[in-house]
Symmetry: C2
Subunit: 192 residues, 2 copies
Amino acid sequence: MLSFEAFEEKTIKRETLFTGKIIEVALDEVALPMGGTAKRELVFHPGGVGIVAITPAEKMLFVRQFRKPLERVILEIPAGKIDPGEGSHPEVTGARELEEETGYRPQKMTHLASMYLSPGFANEMLHLYLAEGLEKVENPRAMDEDEVLEVYELTLDEALERMKTGEICDAKTIYAIQYWQLALAKGRECHG
Amino acid sequence: MLSFEAFEEKTIKRETLFTGKIIEVALDEVALPMGGTAKRELVFHPGGVGIVAITPAEKMLFVRQFRKPLERVILEIPAGKIDPGEGSHPEVTGARELEEETGYRPQKMTHLASMYLSPGFANEMLHLYLAEGLEKVENPRAMDEDEVLEVYELTLDEALERMKTGEICDAKTIYAIQYWQLALAKGRECHG
């Protein structure tokens, strides 16, 4: 196993190109471990939370929304960015987003995984939680003003069908469906 | 189901902030479907390919490398960006990256999934392929000059252990391990 030093690319110079409300973009000049230099294009992002929420009727919650970078409407699990101050409590972000987007409040949140989405250029980390004990809230917290979305409750077969048609097409949602399939497959394994 | 028009955010003005070798960054002012305007921070990326490669000895191939946005070394499945001209043949990119990074050439590539990684701000799509019939190449194609990496062949249990320790921590690699678990679980299901 090579040491960290054999890999590390030390920043010689960083140029911050853009500081937005969500992302920060930088261009680094780095010293390569084998000598020489290279440029690295970097996007910094506060991270987010995705919620795997299965209702008592064995349906998973999805939201249908427009995604500007794709110029299309897709179906995803409920998710949201981590706001300043929530960084150390992603389950708080998760419960808030779930309620805002779907009107359900979870009694229990269990951490499933944390994953970098595009480690080649971005530091965005997504935390995934299983939301259990879902209860419909009478007066749910309001969504962000610029969000339009539709809530769906789908069975596993319906969700797999939406993957085939391409409506479900993002990494966190595909993870959630695989998680569900694995949980069910474990229940069906032969123990005899 | 709401119509596309109920969701669409039309671009009023686009400001291109950065055009790099890998990403392009833009700031859009959009017209919201319910009236009013909002800003959207956007990253455009050519997309990539990730390879789920399992050797005849039932081990999966991983590469250990430094990721500048994270300032750390992580363990991932072999992957690479789609080069101009390869856009319509991601399996070509995949086979090339697999050979460059691991020295294995696949006899067969099967498409598993295509997924947006961060649809909230980026249009990057990752295509995942299963590489079968792996053969060691005597003189594999050379890697990009600025890449340092170490190849690992791990059993499923070893890979799950590396997820626990956090060395495996990115979405495509977690997808690959879940895919492997599901394929094995399906083989173990009760059919009686």
